[in-house]
């Protein structure tokens, strides 16, 4: 007969202890999860872009600030590189419920997003103060047929950069004000052997090429590639711009490497002292004065763009817009829209933008004109002038297709495979066939 022992033997004790420890751990985890979910009742999935200025670190910090202010909203951030942004947004919109409830949107997608109903027009949510407080040039870029596709977040545009030291050695006191002056300065710099190729730009077959082409057309007097819905690249300033770009290549004033260079590559050429001129986005200002990235510390100058005399009478410059806004996809659940608006207002607020003046030019006039901005950015006036002088790329719903055609023919002309006129004619013909 087995005699029952009182109390627990070693094995039973260990079993019980294990169960108890498991229960405590499970209880703790569950408790924590429940506590978190009871605080954050709304989960907002937000898509951002890996970029300079508002970096992943900055935006993550921004989200933490927001969640401490609004504990009922949880921000789940996803960061993607620019080339993947449009695809990610489109595929999210194609789903019955949005993967991303708030997205960073480039201005070139404005017409597509509004025309196809991919995003909620933000007009009802925008106050008159917000409308007046932000540069009109930025609103123009993010609006299509009276509908606002996204709330202004990033005021990116191009500046004209030159190397003061190169110009001084070539015998020039200041940068060029006109296109003829610019060409003359480049020719002198080249002939004196200061650099082999005075200018480098981002002319690989990508979106950056369209930006430069539009801006060049603007410098010749009209950066609008469509007039009355018709493509006009084969005449007037638009054709002259293409001829000018090809001439720069043929004369060896522009580096042949430009046809394979993107914006960071062209910026590096300028910062390394290999090029005397660069036309690029605002991030170059930071690079040219960063000892880790630049060999031209103190030599880089930010300027307005040289233009054909008599053109652009109001602005005396011609730049290109690269604004980004924050949008709400149309398949975002209705109950999340107020939270999305709250996040947008916070992320794009003057207060937040004022905290990041070192890295990014603000969208708000009050912040751009603040003493802090003037102290931080010695080129603030030039920035203002170039921002006011921006041209937009064509605002058409099938812009990415239109852009691909423009890129292809401009690139063919730059490579010397087609004459500028022939390239422009074929470009116009194909765009007309597209219905652009």
């Amino acid at each position: 007969m087995d005699e029952k022992k009182e109390g627990l033997n070693r094995r039973e004790f260990l079993k019980l202890a294990g169960v108890a420890a498991g229960a405590v751990a499970l209880g703790g985890t569950l408790g924590e999860t429940l506590a978190q979910s009871s605080k954050a009742t709304k989960q907002l999935s937000v898509l951002y872009m890996n970029q300079a200025g508002y970096t992943t670190q900055v935006v993550t910090e921004m989200a933490k600030q927001f969640m401490s202010l609004y504990p009922d909203i949880r921000i789940n951030l996803t960061f993607l590189p620019y080339p993947q942004m449009h695809d990610a947004i489109t595929t999210s919109v194609a789903a019955s419920t949005a993967t991303y409830h708030v997205v960073l949107a480039d201005l070139i997608w404005t017409a597509e997003f509004i025309d196809h109903g991919y995003v909620i027009p933000l007009n009802p949510y925008i106050t008159p103060e917000e409308k007046q407080g932000i540069y009109q040039a930025i609103w123009n870029g993010l609006e299509y047929k009276g509908k606002i596709a996204s709330f202004p977040f990033l005021a990116n545009f191009q500046n004209f950069y030159y190397n003061r030291e190169h110009l001084r050695r070539a015998g020039f006191e200041a940068g060029p004000r006109t296109i003829d002056e610019w060409v003359h300065q480049m020719e002198v710099i080249k002939s004196k052997g200061i650099v082999k190729y005075p200018y480098e730009d981002s002319w690989t077959q990508a979106e950056g090429l369209v930006c430069d082409y539009v801006r060049m057309a603007g410098m010749f007097g009209n950066g609008n590639l469509f007039e009355g819905g018709e493509p006009v690249m084969n005449r007037g300033p638009q054709l002259k711009a293409l001829e000018f770009m090809v001439m720069l290549m043929q004369k060896g004033l522009a580096n042949p490497a430009s046809i394979e260079a993107d914006e960071p590559t062209a910026a590096r050429a300028f910062a390394s002292g290999e090029a005397s001129f660069n036309t690029n986005w605002t991030f170059v200002t930071g690079i040219m004065n960063d000892p880790k990235q630049s060999k031209i510390i103190g030599q880089g100058v930010v300027s307005t763009f040289p233009i054909v005399p008599g053109t652009n009478p109001k602005t005396h410059s011609a730049s290109i817009s690269g604004f980004q806004g924050i949008a709400i996809p149309a398949n975002t659940p209705k109950e999340l829209i107020p939270a999305a608006i709250q996040w947008i207002r916070f992320a794009a607020s003057p207060k937040i933008q004022a905290e990041h003046l070192h890295s990014q030019w603000p969208v708000w006039k009050s912040v751009a004109n603040s003493p802090a901005e003037r102290r931080i950015n010695p080129w603030w006036q030039v920035y203002q002038e170039n921002l006011e002088a921006v041209y937009n790329r064509p605002k058409v719903p099938d812009y990415l297709h239109v852009s691909a055609i423009i890129q292809r023919y401009v690139h063919q002309a730059l490579q010397g495979n087609l004459s500028p006129k022939s390239a422009a004619d074929q470009m116009v013909q194909e765009l007309k066939a597209l219905g652009g």
């Binding site: 489109t90 419920t97 394979e260 590559t265 099938d398 691909a404 690139h411």
Partner: protein, 330 residues
């Protein structure tokens, strides 16, 4: 009562039922999870893509719900693509990239395998070193070659060559201008097939990464060939070429068919190195499929390009299997 089966006179299980019993049933049961996964992850998307390729499909948001809406257009997407000169130039560029790469792999890859099969001191170390490029992620490899081929004076190759007394340090290695455009016949032909300095640079960059795996697969095949065959052939007076032609090549048939099928599929749909180094400068099929579907929003046309990629791979796979099978029998 006649006609009503009793317990003892019940009919034997049908042939259909018997098919699923016994060992075969067990095998099917074990295979079922894999079959279901293949169906869900391969067959369903494949069939959906095929259907999409016959549709004009775009993304729409109706009542706050996103969806892909399409209507039947028959072969219109395929006709549009196959009559579009830009698409056809991309198709030729894809085939050039594929053919040039395969040629390199079949020659240098087999040569490398032979060298690695020789006995020499430090062979294990050499084998390990040769294999390193294969371990590098494709995007990292592409970026690496982008730095090497950078057309500025600070590019690695442009920086190195002038120090060796070669070049002027300003060569645009990734230039997609056709090679020798002004040479009669040859220039237009190179332009037609999409051969450019940029394309050749990409082939070098891609081969640097993929040659090791080809060499190692061939090496594995070489190690299965008995040395007696070579000894007997040598005694019979066979030359090195004859030994290679009549022993090595036929016995490598099965492994070569695997290598060729694998590499053909990879080469025809190569995307990363093109997109990273050339953006859309070279409109190979994968770039075209991506642009049509995700940039332009023509999901039907993008699906058609994807199917054309698949059909090309299938066509070459069929040729390899047919050719190499015959070779083995001979």
């Amino acid at each position: 009562m006649e006609g009503i089966p009793t317990q003892s006179t019940r009919r034997a299980p049908s042939r259909f039922f018997r098919f699923f019993t016994g060992d075969r049933g067990l095998a099917l049961a074990l295979l079922l999870p894999s079959l279901l996964l293949v169906a869900a992850l391969v067959l369903v998307p494949l069939i959906y893509t095929l259907i999409l390729s016959f549709q004009s499909a775009t993304v729409n948001v109706i009542g706050g719900r996103g969806q892909l809406v399409g209507h039947w257009v028959g072969l219109r997407n395929y006709i549009h693509l196959l009559t579009n000169s830009y698409f056809l130039s991309g198709l030729r560029a894809t085939l050039y990239f594929f053919a040039a790469s395969i040629l390199i792999e079949l020659t240098i890859g087999i040569l490398m395998a032979h060298l690695l099969n020789l006995e020499f001191r430090g062979r294990t170390l050499v084998r390990a070193l040769v294999f390193i490029p294969w371990a590098i992620p494709t995007i990292v490899n592409a970026t690496l070659w982008g730095m090497i081929f950078n057309g500025n004076a600070y590019g690695a190759l442009n920086g190195l060559l002038p120090r060796l007394g070669l070049g002027n340090g300003h060569t645009v290695w990734l230039d997609t201008t056709p090679v020798w455009p002004h040479v009669p016949l040859l220039g237009p032909f190179f332009q037609w097939i999409g051969m450019s300095r940029g394309m050749n640079a990409l082939i070098i960059g891609d081969e640097w990464k993929t040659l090791p795996i080809v060499a190692f697969l061939v090496l594995a095949g070489l190690q299965t060939i008995p040395k007696d065959y070579y000894e007997a052939a040598t005694i019979d007076g066979a030359t090195p070429w004859q030994r290679f032609r009549y022993i090595t090549l036929p016995l490598l048939g099965p492994i070569l068919s695997i290598v060729l099928i694998l590499r053909t599929m990879q080469l025809v749909r190569a995307f990363t190195i093109f997109y990273t180094l050339e953006a859309t400068n070279i409109p190979v099929l994968s770039i075209s499929a991506y642009q049509q579907a995700f940039s332009f929003g023509y999901f039907g046309r993008g699906s058609a390009v994807a199917f054309i990629i698949g059909l090309i791979s299938l066509f070459f796979a069929w040729i390899y299997i047919r050719w190499l099978y015959r070779e083995e029998v001979a």
